[in-house]
Protein backbone atom coordinates (compact mmCIF):
# COMPACT_ATOMS: atom_id res chain seq x y z
CA UNK A 1 0.00 0.00 0.00
CA UNK A 2 1.16 3.47 -0.82
CA UNK A 3 2.01 5.64 2.18
CA UNK A 4 1.51 8.84 0.22
CA UNK A 5 -2.08 8.07 -0.72
CA UNK A 6 -4.94 8.70 1.66
CA UNK A 7 -7.40 5.96 2.63
CA UNK A 8 -10.13 6.78 0.10
CA UNK A 9 -7.64 6.87 -2.79
CA UNK A 10 -6.18 3.52 -1.79
CA UNK A 11 -9.61 1.90 -1.66
CA UNK A 12 -10.72 3.53 -4.93
CA UNK A 13 -7.62 2.37 -6.81
CA UNK A 14 -7.90 -1.14 -5.39
CA UNK A 15 -11.53 -1.38 -6.40
CA UNK A 16 -10.61 -0.32 -9.93
CA UNK A 17 -7.76 -2.79 -10.03
CA UNK A 18 -9.84 -5.61 -8.67
CA UNK A 19 -12.47 -5.23 -11.37
CA UNK A 20 -9.73 -4.95 -13.97
CA UNK A 21 -11.75 -6.10 -16.97
CA UNK A 22 -14.60 -3.79 -16.12
CA UNK A 23 -12.12 -0.94 -15.62
CA UNK A 24 -10.28 -1.61 -18.88
CA UNK A 25 -13.50 -1.84 -20.87
CA UNK A 26 -14.87 1.42 -19.58
CA UNK A 27 -11.51 3.16 -20.03
CA UNK A 28 -11.55 1.84 -23.61
CA UNK A 29 -15.04 3.27 -24.06
CA UNK A 30 -14.07 6.64 -22.65
CA UNK A 31 -10.89 6.66 -24.74
CA UNK A 32 -12.90 6.05 -27.91
CA UNK A 33 -15.24 8.92 -27.05
CA UNK A 34 -12.43 11.30 -26.17
CA UNK A 35 -10.48 10.14 -29.23
CA UNK A 36 -13.40 11.00 -31.50
CA UNK A 37 -13.77 14.41 -29.85
CA UNK A 38 -10.04 15.19 -30.11
CA UNK A 39 -9.84 13.97 -33.70
CA UNK A 40 -12.91 15.85 -34.84
CA UNK A 41 -11.97 19.03 -33.02
CA UNK A 42 -8.44 19.08 -34.37
CA UNK A 43 -9.61 18.25 -37.88
CA UNK A 44 -12.43 20.75 -37.98
CA UNK A 45 -10.60 23.57 -36.25
CA UNK A 46 -7.63 22.99 -38.56
CA UNK A 47 -9.82 23.01 -41.63
CA UNK A 48 -11.81 25.99 -40.47
CA UNK A 49 -8.69 27.91 -39.58
CA UNK A 50 -7.44 27.16 -43.05
CA UNK A 51 -10.64 28.29 -44.77
CA UNK A 52 -10.88 31.40 -42.67
CA UNK A 53 -7.26 32.23 -43.26
CA UNK A 54 -7.69 31.85 -46.99
CA UNK A 55 -10.84 33.92 -47.08
CA UNK A 56 -9.80 36.59 -44.64
CA UNK A 57 -6.32 37.27 -45.89
CA UNK A 58 -7.52 37.82 -49.42
CA UNK A 59 -10.19 40.37 -48.55
CA UNK A 60 -10.73 43.09 -45.96
CA UNK A 61 -12.66 42.22 -42.81
CA UNK A 62 -14.64 45.43 -43.16
CA UNK A 63 -14.89 47.70 -46.17
CA UNK A 64 -16.11 51.30 -45.92
CA UNK A 65 -17.64 52.72 -49.10
CA UNK A 66 -19.53 55.86 -50.02
CA UNK A 67 -23.20 55.95 -49.32
CA UNK A 68 -25.46 55.48 -52.32
CA UNK A 69 -26.73 58.70 -53.74
CA UNK A 70 -30.47 59.13 -53.47
CA UNK A 71 -32.92 61.52 -55.12
CA UNK A 72 -35.39 63.55 -53.11
CA UNK A 73 -38.79 64.69 -54.35
CA UNK A 74 -38.93 68.27 -55.47
CA UNK A 75 -41.10 70.32 -53.09
CA UNK A 76 -42.95 73.61 -53.52
CA UNK A 77 -43.47 74.27 -49.96
CA UNK A 78 -43.75 72.31 -46.71
CA UNK A 79 -45.93 69.29 -47.38
CA UNK A 80 -46.42 70.11 -51.09
CA UNK A 81 -44.67 67.85 -53.53
CA UNK A 82 -44.31 69.09 -57.06
CA UNK A 83 -43.39 65.85 -58.74
CA UNK A 84 -43.93 62.58 -56.88
CA UNK A 85 -42.14 60.46 -59.51
CA UNK A 86 -38.57 59.90 -58.35
CA UNK A 87 -35.98 58.31 -60.55
CA UNK A 88 -33.10 56.44 -58.99
CA UNK A 89 -29.91 58.31 -59.84
CA UNK A 90 -26.96 56.58 -61.49
CA UNK A 91 -24.24 55.90 -58.97
CA UNK A 92 -21.25 57.96 -60.00
CA UNK A 93 -17.93 56.90 -58.59
CA UNK A 94 -17.29 59.42 -55.88
CA UNK A 95 -14.77 59.75 -53.16
CA UNK A 96 -15.54 58.89 -49.54
CA UNK A 97 -16.39 62.18 -47.92
CA UNK A 98 -13.66 63.46 -45.57
CA UNK A 99 -11.78 60.16 -45.83
CA UNK A 100 -8.57 61.29 -44.02
CA UNK A 101 -10.67 62.12 -40.97
CA UNK A 102 -12.42 58.72 -41.10
CA UNK A 103 -9.07 56.97 -41.43
CA UNK A 104 -7.74 58.72 -38.35
CA UNK A 105 -10.88 57.77 -36.49
CA UNK A 106 -10.59 54.12 -37.60
CA UNK A 107 -6.95 53.93 -36.59
CA UNK A 108 -7.96 55.02 -33.10
CA UNK A 109 -10.47 52.19 -32.68
CA UNK A 110 -8.93 49.53 -30.42
CA UNK A 111 -10.64 46.68 -32.36
CA UNK A 112 -9.01 47.69 -35.64
CA UNK A 113 -5.60 46.31 -36.62
CA UNK A 114 -5.00 47.96 -39.97
CA UNK A 115 -6.62 50.65 -42.13
CA UNK A 116 -5.97 51.20 -45.79
CA UNK A 117 -7.56 53.67 -48.24
CA UNK A 118 -7.99 52.46 -51.83
CA UNK A 119 -9.32 53.66 -55.11
CA UNK A 120 -11.18 51.15 -57.18
CA UNK A 121 -12.66 51.47 -60.63
CA UNK A 122 -12.94 49.76 -63.97
CA UNK A 123 -10.28 49.82 -66.66
CA UNK A 124 -9.30 48.04 -69.82
CA UNK A 125 -6.03 46.16 -70.04
CA UNK A 126 -4.64 46.12 -73.54
CA UNK A 127 -1.72 44.19 -74.93
CA UNK A 128 -1.34 43.91 -78.63
CA UNK A 129 -4.70 42.78 -80.00
CA UNK A 130 -5.92 41.36 -76.71
CA UNK A 131 -7.86 43.45 -74.24
CA UNK A 132 -9.64 42.59 -71.01
CA UNK A 133 -11.95 44.58 -68.73
CA UNK A 134 -10.67 44.59 -65.17
CA UNK A 135 -11.24 46.13 -61.79
CA UNK A 136 -8.25 48.27 -61.02
CA UNK A 137 -7.49 48.88 -57.37
CA UNK A 138 -5.09 51.59 -56.36
CA UNK A 139 -3.41 50.68 -53.12
CA UNK A 140 -0.93 51.95 -50.61
CA UNK A 141 1.11 48.73 -50.37
CA UNK A 142 2.40 49.37 -46.89
CA UNK A 143 -1.05 49.43 -45.31
CA UNK A 144 -2.92 47.33 -47.87
CA UNK A 145 -0.66 44.29 -47.54
CA UNK A 146 -1.50 44.16 -43.83
CA UNK A 147 -5.13 43.56 -44.81
CA UNK A 148 -4.91 41.54 -48.01
CA UNK A 149 -1.69 39.53 -47.83
CA UNK A 150 -0.96 39.79 -51.53
CA UNK A 151 2.74 39.00 -51.06
CA UNK A 152 1.68 35.57 -49.69
CA UNK A 153 -0.14 34.80 -52.94
CA UNK A 154 2.55 35.90 -55.40
CA UNK A 155 3.48 33.09 -57.78
CA UNK A 156 6.17 34.99 -59.65
CA UNK A 157 7.89 38.36 -59.35
CA UNK A 158 7.82 40.50 -56.22
CA UNK A 159 5.03 42.47 -54.63
CA UNK A 160 6.41 45.89 -55.53
CA UNK A 161 3.91 48.65 -56.25
CA UNK A 162 5.64 51.83 -57.38
CA UNK A 163 4.17 54.22 -59.93
CA UNK A 164 5.63 52.03 -62.72
CA UNK A 165 4.23 48.70 -61.50
CA UNK A 166 1.11 46.64 -61.82
CA UNK A 167 0.18 43.33 -60.13
CA UNK A 168 -2.01 40.99 -62.16
CA UNK A 169 -3.58 37.57 -61.58
CA UNK A 170 -2.52 34.28 -63.12
CA UNK A 171 -5.61 33.98 -65.34
CA UNK A 172 -5.21 37.46 -66.78
CA UNK A 173 -1.52 36.81 -67.38
CA UNK A 174 -2.29 33.70 -69.37
CA UNK A 175 -5.13 35.42 -71.25
CA UNK A 176 -2.76 38.17 -72.32
CA UNK A 177 0.23 35.88 -72.68
CA UNK A 178 2.40 38.01 -70.41
CA UNK A 179 4.97 37.34 -67.69
CA UNK A 180 6.71 39.38 -65.03
CA UNK A 181 8.66 42.28 -66.55
CA UNK A 182 6.29 42.63 -69.54
CA UNK A 183 4.46 45.88 -70.11
CA UNK A 184 0.70 46.31 -70.42
CA UNK A 185 -1.39 49.27 -71.38
CA UNK A 186 -4.19 50.50 -69.08
CA UNK A 187 -7.16 52.51 -70.35
CA UNK A 188 -9.57 54.04 -67.87
CA UNK A 189 -13.17 55.07 -68.53
CA UNK A 190 -12.05 58.68 -68.41
CA UNK A 191 -9.97 58.08 -71.49
CA UNK A 192 -6.66 58.31 -69.69
CA UNK A 193 -4.08 55.68 -70.60
CA UNK A 194 -0.87 54.54 -69.04
CA UNK A 195 1.73 51.84 -69.65
CA UNK A 196 2.93 49.87 -66.62
CA UNK A 197 5.34 46.99 -66.00
CA UNK A 198 4.10 43.73 -64.47
CA UNK A 199 6.05 43.39 -61.23
CA UNK A 200 4.30 40.25 -59.97
CA UNK A 201 1.64 37.69 -60.80
CA UNK A 202 -0.62 36.49 -57.97
CA UNK A 203 -2.99 33.60 -57.36
CA UNK A 204 -5.73 34.46 -54.88
CA UNK A 205 -7.35 31.05 -55.22
CA UNK A 206 -10.33 32.18 -57.29
CA UNK A 207 -10.41 32.18 -61.06
CA UNK A 208 -12.63 35.27 -61.26
CA UNK A 209 -10.37 37.30 -59.01
CA UNK A 210 -7.25 36.16 -60.83
CA UNK A 211 -8.82 37.18 -64.11
CA UNK A 212 -10.41 40.49 -63.20
CA UNK A 213 -8.40 42.16 -60.47
CA UNK A 214 -5.27 44.20 -60.92
CA UNK A 215 -3.41 46.31 -58.40
CA UNK A 216 -1.56 49.57 -59.00
CA UNK A 217 -0.21 52.36 -56.83
CA UNK A 218 -2.87 54.54 -55.23
CA UNK A 219 -1.82 57.70 -57.05
CA UNK A 220 -1.80 55.98 -60.43
CA UNK A 221 -5.36 54.78 -59.93
CA UNK A 222 -6.43 58.20 -58.67
CA UNK A 223 -5.12 59.91 -61.75
CA UNK A 224 -6.43 57.27 -64.18
CA UNK A 225 -9.91 57.39 -62.64
CA UNK A 226 -9.89 61.17 -62.35
CA UNK A 227 -10.14 61.17 -58.61
CA UNK A 228 -7.09 63.10 -57.55
CA UNK A 229 -6.93 63.12 -53.75
CA UNK A 230 -9.99 60.90 -53.40
CA UNK A 231 -10.55 57.29 -52.31
CA UNK A 232 -13.50 55.05 -53.11
CA UNK A 233 -13.19 52.69 -50.19
CA UNK A 234 -11.38 52.19 -46.92
CA UNK A 235 -10.42 48.63 -45.97
CA UNK A 236 -10.06 47.49 -42.39
CA UNK A 237 -8.80 44.38 -40.68
CA UNK A 238 -9.97 43.72 -37.15
CA UNK A 239 -8.84 41.71 -34.15
CA UNK A 240 -11.95 39.59 -33.65
CA UNK A 241 -13.16 38.47 -37.05
CA UNK A 242 -16.44 37.17 -35.65
CA UNK A 243 -17.24 40.60 -34.19
CA UNK A 244 -16.71 42.25 -37.59
CA UNK A 245 -20.41 42.65 -38.35
CA UNK A 246 -21.19 44.33 -35.02
CA UNK A 247 -18.25 46.65 -35.44
CA UNK A 248 -19.29 47.42 -39.02
CA UNK A 249 -22.73 48.44 -37.82
CA UNK A 250 -21.23 50.67 -35.15
CA UNK A 251 -18.94 52.32 -37.69
CA UNK A 252 -21.80 52.86 -40.10
CA UNK A 253 -23.91 54.41 -37.37
CA UNK A 254 -21.30 56.99 -36.46
CA UNK A 255 -19.78 57.85 -39.87
CA UNK A 256 -21.11 58.93 -43.24
CA UNK A 257 -20.17 55.65 -44.91
CA UNK A 258 -21.59 52.26 -45.66
CA UNK A 259 -19.65 49.57 -43.77
CA UNK A 260 -19.74 46.01 -45.09
CA UNK A 261 -18.21 43.23 -43.02
CA UNK A 262 -16.87 39.97 -44.46
CA UNK A 263 -19.71 38.23 -42.64
CA UNK A 264 -22.23 40.18 -44.69
CA UNK A 265 -20.40 39.89 -47.99
CA UNK A 266 -19.70 36.16 -47.49
CA UNK A 267 -23.00 35.27 -45.86
CA UNK A 268 -23.09 31.74 -47.27
CA UNK A 269 -19.56 30.95 -46.26
CA UNK A 270 -20.19 32.27 -42.77
CA UNK A 271 -23.38 30.23 -42.43
CA UNK A 272 -21.51 27.12 -43.52
CA UNK A 273 -18.84 27.71 -40.88
CA UNK A 274 -21.50 28.27 -38.25
CA UNK A 275 -23.35 25.12 -39.23
CA UNK A 276 -20.12 23.15 -39.07
CA UNK A 277 -19.28 24.57 -35.65
CA UNK A 278 -22.77 23.77 -34.42
CA UNK A 279 -22.60 20.20 -35.71
CA UNK A 280 -19.20 19.77 -34.12
CA UNK A 281 -20.44 21.05 -30.77
CA UNK A 282 -23.49 18.79 -30.96
CA UNK A 283 -21.35 15.74 -31.69
CA UNK A 284 -18.94 16.60 -28.89
CA UNK A 285 -21.79 17.06 -26.47
CA UNK A 286 -23.45 13.78 -27.45
CA UNK A 287 -20.23 11.81 -27.23
CA UNK A 288 -19.42 13.49 -23.90
CA UNK A 289 -22.84 12.54 -22.55
CA UNK A 290 -22.54 8.93 -23.66
CA UNK A 291 -19.12 8.76 -21.98
CA UNK A 292 -20.67 10.14 -18.80
CA UNK A 293 -23.52 7.62 -18.92
CA UNK A 294 -20.99 4.84 -19.47
CA UNK A 295 -19.01 5.84 -16.39
CA UNK A 296 -22.17 6.19 -14.31
CA UNK A 297 -23.46 2.77 -15.43
CA UNK A 298 -20.21 1.00 -14.58
CA UNK A 299 -20.00 2.65 -11.18
CA UNK A 300 -23.63 1.87 -10.35
CA UNK A 301 -22.93 -1.78 -11.09
CA UNK A 302 -19.77 -1.53 -9.01
CA UNK A 303 -21.71 -0.11 -6.04
CA UNK A 304 -24.15 -3.02 -6.25
CA UNK A 305 -21.32 -5.53 -6.55
CA UNK A 306 -19.50 -4.05 -3.61
CA UNK A 307 -22.41 -3.34 -1.31
CA UNK A 308 -21.15 -5.91 1.21
CA UNK A 309 -17.70 -4.28 1.16
CA UNK A 310 -19.31 -0.92 1.67
CA UNK A 311 -21.34 -2.26 4.59
CA UNK A 312 -18.22 -3.70 6.23
CA UNK A 313 -16.27 -0.48 5.69
CA UNK A 314 -19.13 1.46 7.28
CA UNK A 315 -19.28 -0.98 10.21
CA UNK A 316 -15.57 -0.57 10.85
CA UNK A 317 -15.94 3.21 11.18
CA UNK A 318 -15.64 4.53 7.62
CA UNK A 319 -17.75 7.68 7.25
CA UNK A 320 -20.36 8.29 4.56
CA UNK A 321 -18.10 11.03 3.19
CA UNK A 322 -15.19 8.61 2.80
CA UNK A 323 -17.38 6.06 1.00
CA UNK A 324 -18.66 8.78 -1.28
CA UNK A 325 -15.13 9.92 -2.11
CA UNK A 326 -14.08 6.35 -2.90
CA UNK A 327 -16.57 6.29 -5.77
CA UNK A 328 -16.04 9.88 -6.87
CA UNK A 329 -12.31 9.22 -7.13
CA UNK A 330 -13.02 6.13 -9.23
CA UNK A 331 -15.14 8.23 -11.59
CA UNK A 332 -12.48 10.92 -11.82
CA UNK A 333 -9.70 8.40 -12.44
CA UNK A 334 -11.69 6.57 -15.11
CA UNK A 335 -12.34 9.90 -16.84
CA UNK A 336 -8.71 10.98 -16.61
CA UNK A 337 -7.14 7.74 -17.80
CA UNK A 338 -9.76 7.31 -20.51
CA UNK A 339 -9.01 10.84 -21.66
CA UNK A 340 -5.24 10.29 -21.70
CA UNK A 341 -5.64 7.16 -23.81
CA UNK A 342 -8.24 8.90 -25.98
CA UNK A 343 -5.92 11.84 -26.60
CA UNK A 344 -3.19 9.51 -27.76
CA UNK A 345 -5.68 7.78 -30.08
CA UNK A 346 -7.26 11.01 -31.35
CA UNK A 347 -3.95 12.86 -31.66
CA UNK A 348 -2.38 9.88 -33.43
CA UNK A 349 -5.37 9.73 -35.77
CA UNK A 350 -5.02 13.39 -36.68
CA UNK A 351 -1.28 13.07 -37.29
CA UNK A 352 -1.84 9.99 -39.46
CA UNK A 353 -4.64 11.67 -41.41
CA UNK A 354 -2.55 14.80 -41.85
CA UNK A 355 0.41 12.82 -43.10
CA UNK A 356 -1.50 10.58 -45.51
CA UNK A 357 -4.33 12.66 -46.94
CA UNK A 358 -3.52 15.45 -49.33
CA UNK A 359 -5.45 17.90 -51.45
CA UNK A 360 -5.62 17.18 -55.17
CA UNK A 361 -2.69 19.53 -55.77
CA UNK A 362 -0.55 17.81 -53.14
CA UNK A 363 -0.78 20.55 -50.52
CA UNK A 364 -1.86 19.70 -46.99
CA UNK A 365 -5.60 19.48 -46.40
CA UNK A 366 -5.46 21.47 -43.18
CA UNK A 367 -2.76 22.79 -40.89
CA UNK A 368 -1.93 20.40 -38.06
CA UNK A 369 -3.07 22.16 -34.91
CA UNK A 370 -2.46 20.14 -31.72
CA UNK A 371 -2.41 22.67 -28.95
CA UNK A 372 -1.22 21.56 -25.49
CA UNK A 373 -4.01 23.72 -24.11
CA UNK A 374 -6.64 21.63 -25.86
CA UNK A 375 -5.18 18.45 -24.37
CA UNK A 376 -5.14 19.97 -20.92
CA UNK A 377 -8.73 21.14 -21.23
CA UNK A 378 -9.86 17.75 -22.58
CA UNK A 379 -8.20 15.92 -19.68
CA UNK A 380 -9.75 18.32 -17.21
CA UNK A 381 -13.19 18.08 -18.80
CA UNK A 382 -13.07 14.28 -18.88
CA UNK A 383 -12.07 14.17 -15.22
CA UNK A 384 -14.87 16.54 -14.27
CA UNK A 385 -17.29 14.49 -16.41
CA UNK A 386 -16.11 11.38 -14.56
CA UNK A 387 -16.66 13.08 -11.21
CA UNK A 388 -20.11 14.28 -12.20
CA UNK A 389 -21.07 10.89 -13.60
CA UNK A 390 -19.88 9.28 -10.36
CA UNK A 391 -22.02 11.54 -8.21
CA UNK A 392 -25.17 9.45 -8.38
CA UNK A 393 -23.44 6.10 -7.72
CA UNK A 394 -21.32 7.70 -4.97
CA UNK A 395 -24.39 9.12 -3.23
CA UNK A 396 -26.05 5.76 -3.52
CA UNK A 397 -23.03 4.06 -1.96
CA UNK A 398 -22.83 6.60 0.84
CA UNK A 399 -26.50 6.19 1.65
CA UNK A 400 -26.36 2.40 1.84
CA UNK A 401 -27.63 1.12 5.15
CA UNK A 402 -24.76 -0.95 6.56
CA UNK A 403 -27.10 -3.62 7.97
CA UNK A 404 -28.88 -4.12 4.67
CA UNK A 405 -25.60 -3.94 2.77
CA UNK A 406 -23.94 -6.62 4.90
CA UNK A 407 -26.94 -8.93 4.80
CA UNK A 408 -27.24 -8.34 1.06
Amino acid sequence: MNRLLPFDWIVAIRFLREGLFQTLFIIGGIALGVGVIVFMSALLSGMQANFIKRVLTSQPHIQLITLNQVSRPLRFDAGQIEDPVIEQPTQRVTSVDQWPKIITRMRNLPEVIAVSPNVSGSALVVRGDASRAVTMTGIDPETYFKIVRLPDYIVSGEARVTSQDVLIGTELASDLGVKVGDKINLQAGTGATLTLTISAIFDLGSKGTNQRNIYVALRIAQSLLGMIGGVTNIDLSVKDIYAAETLAQEIQASNLVEADSWIKTNAQFFTAIQAQTFANTLIRLTVGLSVAFGIAAVLIVSVIQRSKNIGILRAMGTSRGQIMRVFLIQGGLLGLFGALLGMIMGGGGVIYWHANWRMANGSEMFPLVLEPRMFFITALLATVTGLLAATAPALRAAKLDPVEAING
Binding site: L313, S319, Q322
Partner: protein, 227 residues
Protein backbone atom coordinates in the same frame (compact mmCIF):
# COMPACT_ATOMS: atom_id res chain seq x y z
CA UNK B 1 -20.95 2.28 36.10
CA UNK B 2 -17.53 2.95 34.53
CA UNK B 3 -17.11 -0.78 34.43
CA UNK B 4 -20.00 -1.06 31.97
CA UNK B 5 -18.92 -1.37 28.37
CA UNK B 6 -22.50 -1.45 27.29
CA UNK B 7 -25.79 -0.54 28.89
CA UNK B 8 -29.21 -0.80 27.27
CA UNK B 9 -32.22 0.88 28.81
CA UNK B 10 -35.74 0.04 27.67
CA UNK B 11 -34.82 -0.71 24.09
CA UNK B 12 -37.72 -1.26 21.72
CA UNK B 13 -37.57 -1.60 17.97
CA UNK B 14 -40.51 -1.39 15.65
CA UNK B 15 -40.69 -1.61 11.89
CA UNK B 16 -43.20 0.01 9.52
CA UNK B 17 -44.08 2.58 12.16
CA UNK B 18 -47.49 4.21 11.64
CA UNK B 19 -48.58 1.64 9.07
CA UNK B 20 -51.08 -1.19 9.53
CA UNK B 21 -48.17 -3.60 9.22
CA UNK B 22 -46.32 -2.03 12.19
CA UNK B 23 -44.53 -4.66 14.19
CA UNK B 24 -42.47 -4.42 17.36
CA UNK B 25 -39.61 -6.93 17.41
CA UNK B 26 -37.86 -5.87 20.63
CA UNK B 27 -39.98 -5.12 23.67
CA UNK B 28 -38.12 -3.03 26.26
CA UNK B 29 -34.73 -4.61 26.65
CA UNK B 30 -32.40 -3.76 29.55
CA UNK B 31 -28.90 -5.15 29.52
CA UNK B 32 -25.45 -4.44 30.92
CA UNK B 33 -22.16 -5.89 29.75
CA UNK B 34 -19.14 -5.47 31.99
CA UNK B 35 -15.55 -5.17 30.90
CA UNK B 36 -14.02 -8.53 30.16
CA UNK B 37 -17.29 -10.43 29.97
CA UNK B 38 -17.68 -13.17 27.39
CA UNK B 39 -21.36 -13.48 26.65
CA UNK B 40 -23.34 -15.75 24.38
CA UNK B 41 -26.52 -14.40 22.79
CA UNK B 42 -28.81 -17.23 21.80
CA UNK B 43 -32.34 -17.57 20.62
CA UNK B 44 -34.40 -19.04 17.82
CA UNK B 45 -34.40 -17.48 14.36
CA UNK B 46 -36.60 -14.41 14.15
CA UNK B 47 -36.43 -13.80 17.89
CA UNK B 48 -34.75 -10.40 17.39
CA UNK B 49 -31.13 -11.41 18.07
CA UNK B 50 -29.74 -9.78 14.95
CA UNK B 51 -31.81 -6.63 15.45
CA UNK B 52 -30.50 -6.37 19.00
CA UNK B 53 -26.93 -6.95 17.84
CA UNK B 54 -27.28 -4.24 15.18
CA UNK B 55 -28.61 -1.79 17.76
CA UNK B 56 -25.76 -2.60 20.17
CA UNK B 57 -23.31 -2.24 17.28
CA UNK B 58 -24.75 1.20 16.45
CA UNK B 59 -25.59 0.00 12.95
CA UNK B 60 -29.25 0.58 13.69
CA UNK B 61 -31.08 2.92 16.06
CA UNK B 62 -33.72 1.80 18.56
CA UNK B 63 -37.28 3.13 18.32
CA UNK B 64 -37.26 3.88 22.05
CA UNK B 65 -34.72 3.50 24.82
CA UNK B 66 -31.09 4.40 25.19
CA UNK B 67 -27.82 2.72 24.25
CA UNK B 68 -24.78 3.65 26.35
CA UNK B 69 -21.38 2.67 24.97
CA UNK B 70 -18.57 3.16 27.48
CA UNK B 71 -20.88 5.54 29.31
CA UNK B 72 -21.74 7.67 26.21
CA UNK B 73 -25.44 8.15 25.57
CA UNK B 74 -25.56 7.41 21.85
CA UNK B 75 -29.05 8.89 21.39
CA UNK B 76 -27.52 12.37 21.55
CA UNK B 77 -24.89 11.70 18.87
CA UNK B 78 -25.16 12.58 15.20
CA UNK B 79 -24.35 10.27 12.31
CA UNK B 80 -20.65 11.18 12.14
CA UNK B 81 -20.16 10.86 15.89
CA UNK B 82 -21.88 7.47 15.83
CA UNK B 83 -19.59 6.34 13.00
CA UNK B 84 -16.57 7.53 14.96
CA UNK B 85 -17.68 5.83 18.17
CA UNK B 86 -18.44 2.62 16.28
CA UNK B 87 -15.02 2.67 14.66
CA UNK B 88 -13.21 3.17 17.94
CA UNK B 89 -15.23 1.21 20.49
CA UNK B 90 -16.79 -1.70 18.67
CA UNK B 91 -15.32 -4.47 16.57
CA UNK B 92 -17.43 -6.70 14.34
CA UNK B 93 -17.02 -10.32 13.29
CA UNK B 94 -19.66 -11.63 10.91
CA UNK B 95 -20.70 -15.13 9.98
CA UNK B 96 -19.44 -14.67 6.44
CA UNK B 97 -16.19 -12.99 7.54
CA UNK B 98 -16.65 -10.34 4.83
CA UNK B 99 -13.04 -9.66 4.08
CA UNK B 100 -12.60 -7.07 1.37
CA UNK B 101 -11.49 -9.13 -1.59
CA UNK B 102 -9.38 -6.38 -3.11
CA UNK B 103 -7.02 -6.42 -0.13
CA UNK B 104 -4.68 -8.98 1.41
CA UNK B 105 -5.16 -10.41 4.90
CA UNK B 106 -2.71 -7.91 6.37
CA UNK B 107 -4.28 -5.01 4.50
CA UNK B 108 -7.76 -6.01 5.66
CA UNK B 109 -6.51 -5.73 9.23
CA UNK B 110 -5.05 -2.30 8.46
CA UNK B 111 -8.34 -1.00 7.02
CA UNK B 112 -10.07 0.23 10.20
CA UNK B 113 -6.88 2.00 11.32
CA UNK B 114 -6.38 3.50 7.89
CA UNK B 115 -9.97 4.75 7.73
CA UNK B 116 -9.32 6.46 11.05
CA UNK B 117 -5.82 7.84 10.49
CA UNK B 118 -6.21 8.38 6.69
CA UNK B 119 -2.51 7.77 5.88
CA UNK B 120 -0.61 4.53 6.30
CA UNK B 121 2.11 4.64 8.94
CA UNK B 122 4.76 2.46 10.50
CA UNK B 123 2.58 2.14 13.59
CA UNK B 124 -0.41 0.86 11.60
CA UNK B 125 1.68 -1.73 9.76
CA UNK B 126 3.29 -2.81 12.97
CA UNK B 127 -0.02 -3.26 14.75
CA UNK B 128 -1.53 -5.15 11.80
CA UNK B 129 1.44 -7.51 11.68
CA UNK B 130 1.18 -8.09 15.42
CA UNK B 131 -2.50 -8.94 15.09
CA UNK B 132 -1.91 -11.28 12.16
CA UNK B 133 0.78 -12.95 14.23
CA UNK B 134 -1.59 -13.07 17.21
CA UNK B 135 -4.18 -14.99 15.18
CA UNK B 136 -1.45 -17.28 13.86
CA UNK B 137 -1.59 -16.30 10.20
CA UNK B 138 1.92 -15.00 9.49
CA UNK B 139 2.25 -17.44 6.60
CA UNK B 140 -0.83 -16.14 4.77
CA UNK B 141 -0.47 -12.45 5.68
CA UNK B 142 -0.10 -11.44 2.04
CA UNK B 143 -2.78 -13.73 0.65
CA UNK B 144 -6.03 -12.43 -0.72
CA UNK B 145 -9.27 -13.76 0.78
CA UNK B 146 -9.85 -16.22 -2.03
CA UNK B 147 -6.54 -17.90 -1.24
CA UNK B 148 -7.42 -18.63 2.40
CA UNK B 149 -9.60 -21.24 4.10
CA UNK B 150 -12.82 -20.26 5.85
CA UNK B 151 -11.21 -20.63 9.27
CA UNK B 152 -8.25 -18.47 8.21
CA UNK B 153 -10.53 -15.80 6.85
CA UNK B 154 -12.52 -15.74 10.06
CA UNK B 155 -9.25 -15.33 12.01
CA UNK B 156 -8.36 -12.37 9.79
CA UNK B 157 -11.82 -10.94 10.52
CA UNK B 158 -11.13 -11.30 14.24
CA UNK B 159 -7.77 -9.57 13.86
CA UNK B 160 -9.50 -6.79 11.92
CA UNK B 161 -12.17 -6.45 14.63
CA UNK B 162 -9.39 -6.00 17.19
CA UNK B 163 -7.42 -3.46 15.13
CA UNK B 164 -8.76 -0.36 16.85
CA UNK B 165 -8.46 -1.98 20.30
CA UNK B 166 -12.22 -1.80 20.87
CA UNK B 167 -13.57 -2.60 24.31
CA UNK B 168 -16.47 -4.52 22.78
CA UNK B 169 -16.45 -7.11 20.01
CA UNK B 170 -19.73 -8.26 18.52
CA UNK B 171 -19.64 -11.55 16.69
CA UNK B 172 -22.66 -12.65 14.65
CA UNK B 173 -22.44 -16.46 14.40
CA UNK B 174 -18.68 -16.32 13.86
CA UNK B 175 -18.39 -20.10 13.71
CA UNK B 176 -21.67 -20.77 11.94
CA UNK B 177 -20.00 -21.32 8.63
CA UNK B 178 -17.01 -23.39 9.79
CA UNK B 179 -16.33 -27.06 10.36
CA UNK B 180 -16.20 -28.23 13.98
CA UNK B 181 -12.46 -28.08 14.27
CA UNK B 182 -12.11 -24.60 12.77
CA UNK B 183 -15.12 -23.42 14.77
CA UNK B 184 -13.50 -24.59 17.94
CA UNK B 185 -10.18 -22.93 17.23
CA UNK B 186 -11.83 -19.65 16.20
CA UNK B 187 -13.87 -19.72 19.42
CA UNK B 188 -10.76 -20.43 21.47
CA UNK B 189 -8.96 -17.54 19.78
CA UNK B 190 -11.69 -15.14 20.83
CA UNK B 191 -11.68 -16.57 24.34
CA UNK B 192 -7.91 -16.07 24.57
CA UNK B 193 -8.11 -12.49 23.35
CA UNK B 194 -10.87 -11.92 25.89
CA UNK B 195 -8.71 -13.23 28.70
CA UNK B 196 -5.54 -11.44 27.64
CA UNK B 197 -6.91 -7.99 26.87
CA UNK B 198 -10.17 -8.01 28.83
CA UNK B 199 -12.05 -7.20 25.64
CA UNK B 200 -15.75 -7.79 26.10
CA UNK B 201 -17.23 -10.26 23.60
CA UNK B 202 -20.86 -10.80 22.70
CA UNK B 203 -21.31 -13.79 20.47
CA UNK B 204 -24.49 -14.73 18.69
CA UNK B 205 -24.54 -18.47 18.24
CA UNK B 206 -26.84 -21.39 17.64
CA UNK B 207 -24.22 -23.76 18.97
CA UNK B 208 -25.17 -24.61 22.58
CA UNK B 209 -21.81 -26.34 23.15
CA UNK B 210 -20.02 -23.09 22.51
CA UNK B 211 -22.62 -21.04 24.40
CA UNK B 212 -22.03 -23.10 27.46
CA UNK B 213 -18.33 -22.25 27.37
CA UNK B 214 -19.18 -18.53 27.71
CA UNK B 215 -19.33 -16.60 31.01
CA UNK B 216 -22.99 -15.85 30.60
CA UNK B 217 -25.80 -16.86 28.28
CA UNK B 218 -28.46 -14.36 27.31
CA UNK B 219 -31.45 -15.74 25.52
CA UNK B 220 -33.74 -13.73 23.33
CA UNK B 221 -37.23 -15.10 22.93
CA UNK B 222 -39.86 -13.12 21.08
CA UNK B 223 -38.02 -9.85 21.55
CA UNK B 224 -37.46 -10.23 25.32
CA UNK B 225 -34.36 -11.23 27.25
CA UNK B 226 -34.10 -14.31 29.44
CA UNK B 227 -30.92 -14.31 31.52
Amino acid sequence: MADDVLRLEGITKSYNIGMPSEVEVLHGIDLELKTGEFVALIGPSGSGKSTLLNIIGLLDRPTHGRVYIEGHDTSTLNEDQITHLRGHSIGFVFQYHHLIAAFTALENVMMPMLADKIFLSEAIEHRAKDLIHRVGLDHVAHNFAMNMSGGQQQRVAIARALAMQPRLVLADEPTGNLDTQSADSVFELMREVNRESRTTFMIVTHNMELAKRCDRIIEVIDGRLHH
